[in-house]
Amino acid sequence: MTAVGTERRVIRVVVNGVPYEREVEARLLLSDFLRHELGLTGTHVGCEHGVCGACTVLFDGEPVRSCLFLAVQADGHAIETVEGLAPSESELHPLQLAFWEKHGLQCGYCTPGMLMVLKAFLAEHPNPTEEEIREAISGNLCRCTGYQNIVEAALSAAQLMRQS
């Protein structure tokens, strides 16, 4: 008898524009797939049950908690992680630039999740109010900062992105 979820499936998934074909256990979490199978350690796991938002990635452009998704669910879909944000090795995405300049982080563990949620949010709300930003990232926990600079960084990123 095989344990539940141990059967293996081949999945095809595009991560940050790169196509991958991998055989995985059906029970493998998307977060573990990204971190351990693909070595994309920028996706951080904080709570393991969808509460802290640190592991947020974009799934066909929509933010999802990769700790609540199975890798097999990503079969045939496009995933974007924090590693795919910056346009090149030497450039930053406006969100990254804003988090740097406005000092929207301390340890940086929650940052990838914040960035991915905001990327999707700002795509739909290019000119948000502070209140809307707070609401948009209210599902992402940060234990280090007092959140103030994260809001400022998001506002600043929105401005940078409108200008570009």
Binding site: H103, C107, R134, L141, Y147
Partner: protein
């Protein structure tokens, strides 16, 4: 910040791109993954451990119980920073739910966890105790049997440890000044109240992560720890090695807040690595975080003697700290909380008894605020209760009793650079205290303000060493064992090294702590690093600048005083063509890098009998104030304004300092309103982030602000945590004022606030 240079974090690029390799991201080819089998009962004898089920999981390489540890020659399988009471693996007995019973190593983390779940452990339950006061009763089950002839003193106990043998008390701190009975006899009014603070968890976003391997008889551990040198020492003692035979490397961490102080999982991965002959890595999951280390649940009784005109004649404190199943640094927490409970006030007669007590709960140790949050809750609530009883304004009552520069604290030490008054006044200004402590309330809401002041010591005595070097390419490197956990240590140390060398701080490299490469440091705790390590780094950089001038003087045949230091070169002043690069100077010495080393110490200590002496070589000082709005129908508390003022002496980095203040305040807000570890007969009920709430964006005060107070010529004061301890007390004082009820217990949940309101109404009717 206007007119000042701002210094962004030097590693911000790595963090926003998530290229930073945190402790949990470290991997080594061929490494195994570990998982832990943990006790499911709070106290009991181990009857049988059945490991055969674990071996059926493909990929399992080792299943290790206490019996297997005998295969490691010279292993002394017990450790602890202040009392050596913690077994590497439970043998014969388990002492809390979560106690480590067995370890599994497997080819992948999933197999390790699955195998761990298949280990069957049978217990014979023993009576257990969970409350620190009950645990001190003569009939309480003894969790450890400390004996005078076997005190099990750990190496990191830097003070006189006083267990009460034959009880669960592993340290009794005393501080006696004056004549306490006379103090109460001289009082017009004597008040007494008991306060409680629950256990809490740090919830660093990155869990504990460690990797160990053995190389030619040496143990190498790569771990997210705030204590590289303590961990090295403890591991060496465990394995019977010289400290130099152990190497501890510390990558940056995703937060810690005290949870990664002293060994937590390093002994276990080291044992597995030894027994398997392969590198082994362990990353805890969120559940395990909740049973690995906590903040002490605390009960504090305060008796205060007062005169009608608002002077304090006497203060008697009895504090009980539930340190859980293993002492960890609980003995020191009871000590620092002991002297911290006196507060920054002029009190002629003081008697403090502070007891660190074993209970059958997860170990409690360091937590941002280190004992001071708990005693400030009690002391500063008591100050408001006393002000009300005397009919005095709480600010005025505090100001009348505050210690001034040059006055003596209860320990007998003279205080210098005293700024409690400015901190409180800054808070009062921000709250518009002059308009009264009660605010106008909208219909159906109760509004009021509250404030609190804090004094917090820094580890004394202690030592920090640093080396600053310049290589043949002219590149400057700081070698320091201060760890980076998000506080910005690398940035601040780079700045302090850059200043004397007159180079941009962004060109300075700060290497990760590595006990083989970076010199000794006590540990990255107690807000000491910017001051202690900062001074060591600055002195080393100054020495390096002098050395470069001397070498250049010889080379350029000029007097050192005629030379000027430029980034990367030394030149004769006003003669730009007479220059020599740093790289050339280094190359000429024949070495690859020119290094200077500096040591910075602080001195002091307390007499274990009286508590007299130097508790802290300098004091962290701060205050907080809150304006709150309470819904009397639901008991819900909303924070309208939260302000903290912290004495910084001199701010090294405005950005990182501001973040430390804001982060401390919001962590304090969590403690004030909802953070509480709940247990049912020792079974933890709050073991995930749905049941244990930490502040989110939506919990923020309407207005959050703070001050960093500076003084020309003053020395740097650490501020990693000063703004935390006064926050729950300030909020509690505001809520108590708003609802006109006595609040003694944290957190201020709606249920608790409603109960207090109801009790007051019943009293009134």
């Amino acid at each position: 910040m206007s007119g000042r240079t701002t210094f962004g974090m030097i590693d911000a690029w790595e963090r926003v791109t998530a290229r930073i390799r945190l402790s949990q991201d470290v991997s080594i080819p061929g490494m195994l993954h570990a998982a832990v089998v943990r006790s499911t009962i709070p106290h009991g004898r181990l009857r049988r451990i059945e490991t055969s089920g674990a071996w059926t999981v493909p990929g399992v390489v080792a299943v290790v119980t206490a019996a297997d540890l005998a295969r490691i020659p010279n292993l002394r399988p017990v450790y602890g920073p202040q009392i050596e009471d913690q077994p590497v693996l439970a043998h014969e007995r388990v002492r809390y739910v979560g106690d480590m019973v067995a370890l599994v190593a497997a080819e992948n983390a999933r197999a390790a966890r699955e195998a761990a779940a298949r280990v069957v452990v049978e217990y014979d339950p023993l009576p257990a105790v969970f409350d620190p006061i009950e645990a001190l009763r003569p009939d309480a089950p003894l969790i450890h049997e400390l004996r005078p002839e076997e005190p099990h003193r750990g190496h990191a106990v830097y003070f006189g440890l006083r267990p009460i043998f034959g009880t669960n008390c592993c340290n009794h701190f005393r501080l006696y000044t004056g004549d306490i009975e006379r103090g109460f006899a001289e009082a017009d009014l004597v008040l007494e109240e008991t306060f409680r603070v629950p256990a809490a968890q740090h919830v660093a976003m990155e869990p504990h992560a460690a990797l160990a391997y053995w190389e030619d008889g040496r143990l190498v551990v790569i771990s997210g720890t705030q204590t590289p040198f303590n961990t090295r020492q403890i591991l060496a003692q465990l394995f019977g090695l010289a400290p130099e035979q152990v190497r501890v490397i510390v990558p940056p961490m995703g937060g810690s807040f005290g949870s990664k102080v002293f060994p937590r999982i390093e002994p276990q991965v080291a044992v597995l690595a030894y027994l398997t002959g392969r590198p082994v890595k362990l990353v805890l999951d969120r559940y395990e975080e909740f049973v690995t280390l906590t903040r002490h649940a605390t009960v504090v009784t305060i008796r205060l003697g007062l005169t009608r005109d608002g002077r304090i004649t006497a203060k008697r404190v009895q504090a009980y700290w539930s340190t859980g199943a293993y002492a960890d640094c609980g003995p020191d927490v009871a000590r620092k909380g002991g002297f911290g409970s006196v507060g920054p006030y002029r009190i002629p007669h003081v008697a403090v008894d502070s007891y660190c007590v074993y209970t059958n709960l997860p170990p409690a140790g360091a937590f941002r605020g280190y004992a001071v949050t708990e005693v400030v809750w009690a002391s500063e609530r008591m100050m408001d209760i006393a002000a009300d009883a005397l009919g005095l304004d709480p600010l005025e009552f505090r100001l009348r009793n505050l210690l001034h520069d040059g006055e003596q604290f209860a320990t007998g030490e003279t205080l210098h650079d005293v700024h409690f008054r400015e901190c409180l006044e800054a808070v009062a200004r921000a709250l518009h205290w002059e308009q009264g402590s009660r605010a106008r309330s909208p219909e159906g809401r109760l509004r009021a303000k509250g404030l609190a002041v804090v004094m917090k010591g820094m580890t004394t005595p202690s030592r920090s060493e640093a080396r600053v070097g310049v290589d043949r390419a002219g590149r400057v490197t700081v070698y320091s064992s201060t760890v980076e956990l998000g506080q910005g240590a690398r940035t601040v140390l780079a700045q302090l090294a850059a200043e004397p060398l007159e180079i941009p701080y962004t060109t300075v490299r700060v290497v990760d702590p590595d006990t083989d490469r970076t010199p000794f440091d006590n540990r990255t705790t107690s807000s000491r690093s910017t001051y202690m390590m900062g001074n060591a780094v600055r002195q080393a950089a100054e020495a390096l600048a002098r050395r470069l001038r001397e070498l250049a003087a010889e080379r350029l045949e000029a007097a050192p005083e005629d030379l000027e230091l430029l980034p990367g070169a030394v030149c004769v002043r006003g003669v730009p063509e007479r220059c020599v690069s740093w790289g050339e100077l280094v190359t000429a010495t024949g070495s690859d890098e020119l290094q200077e080393h500096a040591v910075f110490r602080n001195e002091g200590g307390l007499d274990p009998e009286t508590g007299h002496g130097i508790a802290s070589s300098h004091w962290h000082q701060g205050a907080a104030g809150a304006e709150v709005e309470v819904d009397p129908e639901t008991g819900q508390v909303r924070i309208l304004r939260l302000h903290a003022a912290v004495y910084a002496g001199r701010v090294v980095n405005q950005l990182t300092a501001a973040l430390q203040n804001e982060g401390s305040m919001i962590m304090g807000l969590g403690s004030a309103l909802f953070e509480e570890l709940v247990y049912d007969e020792g079974q933890p009920l709050t073991t995930n982030l749905s049941d244990y709430l930490i502040p989110s964006f939506l919990d923020l005060p309407v207005t959050l602000s703070h001050d960093l107070l500076e003084c020309p010529g003053a020395e740097v004061h650490g501020l990693g945590e000063t703004a935390l301890p006064p926050v729950p007390a300030a909020i509690g004082n505001a809520v108590a004022r708003a609802i006109g009820a006595c609040l003694t217990e944290l957190p201020l949940t709606p249920e608790r606030v409603l109960r207090a309101l109801r009790a007051t109404r019943q009293e009134a009717s």
